[in-house]
Symmetry: C2
Subunit: 261 residues, 2 copies
């Protein structure tokens, strides 16, 4: 099956995108709700958590791993590739490729957690593809708690989004990468505040496209995967918020299994 | 020495109060910044963390433990008393006693994290003291991230505080307990939004008073404690935010030691 993990609920946007693009594949999701958020933690700590999460998903039968968390994708991939030699997808490269293809003026904005923005990974990866690009990044640490509270349309959320996006608007970016898997839940507000002509790149959709492409190109792996369209959800802490947001996002009830890592 | 722990930076308000009321005592502080926040986690998970934190502080030579976290105080005391038979202080009872003494109309408001408010502990403890009291509680889950971002005076913070306090204002509380050790950092805004005639009870100051009273009453314990006025700070994850807020609050530089629990 496809194993997907995130620090908490954000990765559910990746689950949704994978369910849409690869509906027949079985999925195991692990949300590290006991240790959320990753975005304010140091690189070492996050890489250690990511390794444990991957090991857990492999133990549940996952053969393809999707790191559905930008903070972990930005600091943990080297460590994960050392620990597992099967296919591991992260959310950054697919979003970068999509952004570079979409941007006409090569003025690209990136928003993410403090860990992701401090790592500088989006800037580096964009410049690898397009050395002449201008990349402007903003850490938006309050957006994750706002999403986790379900404050998706409140005026306070609009104000905070506006404040965070102002420096990118001033720089006249023509493309904006949502560099955190929580942010697609605020896409409508983000689009309104950054301006309707700016193209928004959703890393959840981008990584799901990559996984689909991989399955098309590797039929021997694709054929060996379980395809009952089933999804299992594991969390390190059971909270009402997780169930509420999962139901809202996936439009169905889910069963949560608690695991202690 | 006096061992103090919290999920992260909030307990520094307790450190500050203890430094003011018991300046000669040595302090060891543990901030569980890798596993913060506790307020959105389940009771079992928080109690487990609290037990580990207490064990760590005892291993560093602490003989008196202060649980400087309302979420942990509300769910972990039974477990901690089983594990350690020395003096353990929590932040709830001292605040309740202070509030009950201060409230003329016995209309008491409580604000805290979701874990603290859901536990119902403030209501139960207030009603034990004053069965006729009216207690109104509001969970304010976004205040911890706002404080941790250092957004102590921003208009968005004012709006969010106002929204959270409105139901308590409508109920005409005459006393308001800050049931989270982060909240004293927002005291000015909270006082402005709840109204200047409402008495604000700061659990950090309340617990420091209890520890001082205990030392006065137990001279044999007080005499055996180290009194060089030194403070050591341990964290489970080193972040720039912790140092920044500690410097702001304690008005001095501190050295952080990283420990993995």
């Amino acid at each position: 099956m496809i194993g997907i993990f995130d620090s908490g609920i954000g990765g559910l946007t990746v689950v949704k995108a994978i369910m849409e693009q690869l509906p027949e594949y079985d999925i195991a999701y692990f949300g590290d709700t006991a240790r959320t958020p990753y975005g304010s933690k140091s690189a070492d700590t996050v890489a250690g958590y990511a390794a444990e999460n991957t090991e857990f998903l492999l133990s549940k039968g996952a053969r393809v791993i999707v790191v559905a968390c930008n903070s972990a994708s930005s600091v943990a991939m080297e460590r994960l590739h050392k620990a597992y030699d099967g296919p591991i997808f992260e959310v950054i490269t697919p979003a970068v490729e999509m952004a570079v293809a979409a941007s006409a003026k090569h003025r690209i904005g990136v928003i993410g957690t403090r860990a992701t923005v401090n790592s500088g990974i989006y800037t580096r990866e964009i410049l690898k593809c397009t050395p002449a690009a201008k990349v402007y990044s903003e850490a938006c640490p309050l957006l994750v708690p706002l999403v986790e509270e379900g404050w998706l349309k409140k005026p306070e959320t609009r104000m905070i989004v506006k404040k965070y996006l102002l420096p990118l608007k001033v720089r006249q970016v023509d493309t904006l990468i949502l560099g955190c898997t929580h942010y697609p839940l605020l896409k409508t507000i983000i689009q309104a505040k950054i301006g309707k002509r700016v193209k928004i790149i959703d890393s959840s959709v981008a990584v799901a496209g990559k996984v689909r492409q991989f399955m098309d190109q590797q039929p021997e792996i694709a054929e060996a995967m379980a395809k009952n369209g089933r999804a299992r959800f594991f969390v390190s802490d059971v909270t009402a918020q997780f169930e509420k947001i999962a139901r809202f996002l996936l439009k169905k009830d889910i069963n949560l299994t608690h695991v202690a890592l």
